[in-house]
């Protein structure tokens, strides 16, 4: 993993665009490529994690120097439902932030009532829910049903091991889409927000 090389590549791309534009041109495709390789089994989760972490750190560092990236972004929130395992959320969060999306992190071990309450308060446009265990994945149905009571509910995107192992589970729990990896999460968020940053 080459942090210095990543920074130099992003800086070079930023010479002909703003940092977020450069990130979209350079970082997002790189993460999508790495995500596809993980899907094919040629890249490990550990490499995916390190790539996401370096990408996020690099973009944030360059952004803070550049001063761009400020403004009104569509509200995106992410949470781990009923579990303390953070890695899936971390991967997605890093990828989204690296690609220029502002994301509110609701944290780990979030219960259904707490998640519904946060969404009713913040009214995010897109809610990403990460799960590890099957019971938590099944409880996404409760989140969707309760959010539907106060329209407009956010778009609900799900991810995590149960949804990878059962490609139809996302429909069963009433989610709007499933992301099999962090690259797909970027694609889905772009689709549901119209690509706005």
């Amino acid at each position: 993993m080459d942090r210095v090389g990543a920074r130099e590549t992003l800086m070079a791309a930023a010479e002909s665009a703003d940092v977020l534009g450069a990130s979209e041109q350079v970082v997002t495709p790189a993460l999508e490529h790495i995500g596809d390789d993980w899907e094919r089994g040629s890249v490990s989760l550990a490499q995916l994690y390190m790539a996401g972490r370096i990408a996020e750190q690099t973009v944030m560092e360059v952004l803070s120097q550049d001063g761009s990236g400020e403004g009104e972004a569509p509200q995106i929130a992410i949470a781990v439902l009923e579990d303390q395992h953070a890695l899936g959320k971390r991967l997605v969060l890093s990828a989204l932030r690296s690609s220029g999306h502002a994301v509110t992190d609701y944290g780990l071990g979030v219960t259904v009532p707490r998640l519904v309450q946060r969404c009713q308060e913040d009214k995010p446009r897109v809610l990403l829910i990460s799960t590890l265990m099957l019971p938590a994945a099944l409880h996404v149905r409760d989140v969707v049903d309760q959010l539907a009571l106060s329209a407009p509910r956010p778009v609900v995107l799900v991810g995590g091991a149960p949804f990878r192992l059962d490609p139809e589970l996302w429909r069963e729990v009433g989610a709007d889409a499933v992301g099999r990896n962090s690259a797909e999460a970027i694609e889905l968020v772009d689709r549901f927000t119209g690509g706005a940053r």
Partner: protein
Amino acid sequence: MTAAMTSLERVLATLGHQEPDRVPLFLLMTMHGAKELGVGLEEYFSRGENVAEGQLRLREKYGHDCLYNILYAALEVEAWGGEVIFRDDGPANAGEPMILDVERIRSLEPPDVAASPVLARALRATEILKERSHDVPIIGVVMSPFSLPVMQLGFEAYLDLMFERPDLFDRLMAVNEEFCVAWANAQLAAGATAIGYFDPVSSTTIVTPQAYRDTGFKVAQRTIARINGPTATHFASGRCGPILGDVAQTGTAMVGVSGEEDLAALKQAAAGKVSLLGNLNGITMCRWTAEQAEAEVKAAIAAAAPGGGFILSDNHGEIPLQVSDEVLHAVAEATRRWGRYPLDWVDA
């Protein structure tokens, strides 16, 4: 047709890469026993007697080929002083990581197996299973020293440690190895026939094959060599195809494989070296019909059972509580129907 065997004979034959009377079936159920006893999960896990009774009733009901002594995967982290969260609809899970400051690893000491109340419950379950069963393998479980840190530190912090703090990583492996060996051998002494060595972090889903060879492989070699009985390495749904040859070199007798991999290709790579356990998808199993269950069982048997060296099971090492009795009966019945050797129907 081969004469009927006991479960133990059946399993030993297949581990010897011979065809037994039929394909052995391991229904690895940690929670369904609570339903049999009519109690909630937390109460069920509170006494080794409950777990033993649940396992015996489940085997009576489905006629599968093993007993399983594990309470829940997080019991080891509970023994280390970590938090465990119980729920009514799924396995007890590890709470917040017990090691928040990695520097604590320098002074970390393994818990005393004999003094741990939660481990004592699992050992009591094992003793009762041994007293009350005959000719059935009793499967004990350990979390590998290389995979336990996911619960000790959290996944993210563990990956950081692995890549950035080799000194503390080595120290943690040394401490965990001592605990793992002591815990495995205590289960064997209590009556376990074999130990499931759960090592999901070693899977190529999590680390690269080279990273495995540099880390988890060496840990497994050292640890398994000191366990006083046979082991089955399980990747808990993680992929292992690219490292299967290396895994066989750790001294393990069997490998639990993922539903995300080509079972026939894995069998070809493993033939004569190591037996396979798997690989029914426990998540989709929740929605199977009896007909689907039969089709999935047939497909797995056709892919991996010819020649022996294969035990049919789920791909995670724990069947979700949401899998119905009807589906479990269908899996067991289909195994009895389609798993009888010789498997003439496979070539046809």
